[in-house]
């Protein structure tokens, strides 16, 4: 086809304007795709903060609240649940595994998670990845800790470092558990989840901290020694538990069973469902971002229309020459539509290319700094629709100068007006 070739050559002849137009379209594609990738990436990492866990069990509370404190360590647990109930739940035939967690203490703003070593076997992140150690290994005894990547990085800890723990979650706390010193046994690899900001210790250690305590009161007097730890049993109370079931089909029934648990008021939430509920709260921001990106796309298309329209005046001679060679007004029309297609097409490829190249280059950095894992995947349906919308918008916009060119070439005919 001669017309698209002419359009491309004509554009190459006006490459500065053409390149600026392409650049603005590419920018809008970049922005729109970028927002969309971030959005889906954020949502994905959010929804996959914990995977492989079928239910989270906690005291009677709203599902959202339970999820926020048990997984995101946001807010406090108002109540605890008894380990005794958990032990009997664990024996149910539906249950594959159960990992209790005990929250409430912290070290310089990083929350302490009391749990057992099953945690490392069963908690999965980002799809189905097991927790990896960057350094050291699991805790085995009391007053040993495994710290998340952020904790290690921000506080400069490594295996062998020692630290003390304070009561409550504040960064500055006036009540220190200052007798017991934890030592770091392992550092987890970065997960992009709240685990990075956690300090994992054994339930025994947590019990150790609170041994002989009256609620809210600092214990005075009696000295206690680390050596005693092993004599203590597990704590009677924990904050929540993560549960994996043998069959996913059993989830709903088992959730009902927990919610109606006769011996203790319990709540069970399905993480995916509760995550979606929380995500709904955030989705307004997504919409705003998308609207802004769409406006940028519209601006780019309008810019392209202006650029082509502005060129019409100086190109009446070109149109007359083409007419004299036998090009009909409709071909002139197609020439200008082709131009819009070429501009939009290059802009699309350039913008999408930049996104993927940028992601490829900065994926690690994004995970590191924003805790977001953005996978490099082919454009999904949404993204294809966005690209399609920009392309279609550009073509529809390109009709405006094309129709004008059609009219001009019809009325000018062969005469070279300027």
């Amino acid at each position: 086809m001669i017309i698209p070739r002419l359009a491309a050559k004509s554009l190459a002849n006006r490459r500065v304007t053409a390149m600026l137009t392409v650049f603005s379209i590419a920018l809008s594609v970049f922005l729109l795709l970028g927002v969309e990738k971030l959005r889906t990436g954020a949502k994905q990492s959010f929804l996959q903060t914990i995977s492989g866990t079928d239910l989270v069990i906690g005291p009677r509370a709203s599902g959202t609240q339970l999820l926020l404190y048990s997984i995101f360590h946001i807010g406090n647990a108002n109540n605890n649940i008894t380990l005794k109930s958990l032990r009997s739940i664990e024996k149910r035939p539906e249950v594959s595994w159960l990992v209790p967690i005990s929250l409430g203490d912290s070290h310089r703003g990083y929350g302490l998670v009391g749990t057992n070593t099953d945690y490392f076997d069963h908690i999965r992140i980002a799809g189905d990845k097991k927790l990896q150690f960057a350094m050291g290994g699991r805790f085995s005894g009391a007053l040993e800790a495994v710290i998340g990547a952020d904790v290690a990085q921000k506080l400069g800890y490594e295996t062998g470092s020692n630290f003390k723990v304070s009561h409550g979650l504040g960064e500055v706390s006036f009540t220190q558990h200052d007798r017991e010193q934890f030592s770091v046994k392992g550092v987890l690899a970065r997960t992009g989840t709240p685990i990075d900001k956690s300090i994992l210790v054994s339930l025994h250690s947590v019990e150790e901290l609170h041994h002989d305590w009256q609620p809210g009161q600092k214990h005075e007097g009696k000295e206690k020694h680390v050596e005693d730890t092993d004599q203590h049993d597990e704590p009677q109370l924990v904050s929540a538990a993560f549960v994996g079931l043998k069959s996913k089909i059993a989830v709903l029934g088992f959730q009902r069973y927990i919610n109606q648990y006769p011996r203790e008021p319990l709540t069970a939430v399905i993480p995916g469902v509760a995550f979606s509920e929380i995500w709904m709260l955030v989705s307004k921001i997504e919409t705003v971002l998308l609207v802004i990106a769409s406006l940028v796309a519209i601006t780019a298309i309008v810019g392209m229309i202006i650029a082509i329209l502005a060129s019409l005046g100086e190109r009446r001679r070109e149109m007359a020459i083409l007419r004299s060679l036998g090009a009909g007004p409709f071909r002139i029309f197609l020439l200008f539509v082709s131009e819009a297609i070429v501009l939009a097409g290059i802009g699309l490829v350039l913008g999408a290319g930049t996104i993927y190249a940028g992601l490829w280059l900065t994926q690690d950095k994004i995970t590191q700094f924003a805790g977001l894992y953005i996978p490099i995947t082919a454009p999904d349906l949404n993204e294809v629709m966005f690209l399609g919308a920009i392309f279609a918008g550009a073509i529809v916009g390109g009709l405006i100068p094309a129709i004008r060119a059609y009219q001009i070439s019809l009325s000018d005919g062969l005469s070279m007006r300027l």
Binding site: I2, L6, E318, L325, G326, G413, S415, M416
Partner: protein
Amino acid sequence: MESNIVELFDLKFSWGERATQSNVNPFELSIDHFGIQKHEKIFLHGPSGSGKSTLVGLICGTIRPISGEVYLNEKNLTDLPGSQVDRHRADNIGIIYQMFNLLPYLSALENVLLPLEFSKTRKQKVGTSKEECRNEASRLFANLGLDAINDGNAKPGELSVGQQQRVAAARALIGAPRLIIADEPTSALDFENQKNFLDLLFSEVENSNSSLLMISHNPSLAKHFDRSIALSNGEFGKGA
């Protein structure tokens, strides 16, 4: 009559009807009969605004008359739909303008080959392979004294005005259309180049068995033509 390339009958045209244009004063063109025979070279002259360009537009079918008939190579343009008129023009007419004939973003060679993209008839006359098309362009370049740009890769902006006009002539001539229309092709050239250009154009027009309609307001060129017609106020002068 049948063998005439162009035949106009009872033609009436008025710019007043198409008041959208900048032509403020209503202008009328009225021609009872006008024909261009095969191999004929016609010189059309007249002052500005006498209707020369309008006549060209009518022959080319880009302007439609109010009444009358326009035959181009035995087809009545007034009966044809626009798209067919365009194709018929591409097949039968090569046009040379006063200046700025060439598309600035194509090389000289690409400019010359462009009509073949719009006309199958002319392409078949040249040959369907790329090689044959290039050879024909090279031949025209050589015959029109454009040996200096034989490869034709130069852009129009790199050529002199005289060279550009010859490239334009080559473009009009390629594929041997039945009629060459030259609208003041020499007015941008100096005297020496004018004569030179006309000589080359004539020999190539004869070579390709085409007819030539040349428009000019320089009557001194008239003597080189088979026939000279004066147009004033939209009508042919005596002796047309």
